[in-house]
Symmetry: C2
Subunit: 209 residues, 2 copies
């Protein structure tokens, strides 16, 4: 499969959401214009993104909502569920644990870790307790963790990432405001919430949209 | 000033973080190569991004860390503080309230709102209590709110956004998994945490980096 950019993936995620809504509304056909308007991109962009993966629509007819949705979900790896561990049981970690959209989208949090003695053993939801970081490798293996979420303070983030990667986890989502080093073959995505606010500050300052 | 893309803004935020670190380490000069390596982009990209704003470096010498940092902070609108209101005092809203990086980066949460009777009046930190949504316009005016953060469930997000925009707030950061409609002249940024996980799922599935 050809290399696909992170921004294409983000748009594909957006199309899946719109297609989910259309299915719920009982729609069976969608035009690229409709997908474009509902996701905030151009029709040309929609057609280009979908063309990476073969031919889903018919000219002058539109896309079949249900089969396009199944196809994109398959492409994104969403036709199965994924097993996620969160490192850091502070405000960010516990909010992520409770974030319903993760489960709705196929991501199950199967373990939460922390180093702080007062947090270890704390109950989370119905099934989990906060586990000590020292047990990461063992528990990650038992529970077949595939994705690690770093939700520690900045100063602890690299050490946490090293433990997660050392346990064989190949994908990291990092919420700590620190650039992490990971070996080749490990995929890292950074979520920096302050960056989004900075981009708004810029827009306000520039008077741009 | 020419139009600058959201991804350029994100990279500029990244450069500021690296420059902050360099200042702390007592470094006075940085090369584009160094900025590039620490932010994970190419040197050519660094030079291109900075060229939008005039000439900060000298060939064969590098950038003056302190003055480049001040300049980018000014460009991003970070040489002043910004006043933020959070709508939704659930898990996401309270985690955002406690997210220290916001304050560190110049964003002060000056009000938190909710509709649920059991949340209204709840204390947050030292100075705030959760306010009812019905008082949004009044409080936003009193406290000069400039940025609204939507942290409600999906079904309540558009209504919340309408109230925020109706009160004259021109910038929204949306954490609800719902595409919001806002009038021209209002800047909207979406943060969809599930999308980031989906992008990792794709990488794992594709066996890409």
């Amino acid at each position: 499969m050809e290399r696909i950019s992170a921004s294409t993936i983000r748009r594909l995620s957006g199309y899946v959401r719109v297609l989910d809504d259309l299915v719920q509304q009982g729609e069976s056909i969608a035009s690229s214009k409709e997908l474009a308007e509902r996701t905030g991109v151009t029709s040309a962009q929609v057609r280009k993104d979908l063309s990476h993966f073969g031919s889903f629509g018919r000219r002058g007819y539109g896309y079949e909502v249900d089969s396009l949705r199944t196809a994109i979900r398959g492409i994104l790896g969403l036709s199965r569920r994924w097993r996620v561990a969160i490192v850091g049981a502070g405000n960010v970690g516990t909010a992520l644990f409770s974030y319903k959209e993760f489960r709705a989208r196929g991501f199950d949090v199967v373990a939460v870790f922390d180093n702080a003695p007062e947090r270890i053993g704390q109950r989370l939801g119905d099934d989990l307790v906060v586990e000590p970081m020292g047990r990461f490798a063992e528990i990650a293996r038992e529970r077949a963790v595939e994705i690690g979420v770093i939700a520690t303070p900045a100063r602890a983030a690299q050490e946490a990432a090293d433990v997660v990667v050392g346990a064989g986890v190949k994908a990291l989502l990092n919420f700590a405001p620190r650039k992490l080093a990971v070996p080749r073959g490990v995929t890292l995505r950074d979520v920096n919430l302050a960056v989004e606010l900075e981009s708004l500050a810029f827009a306000l300052r520039a008077g741009a949209r």
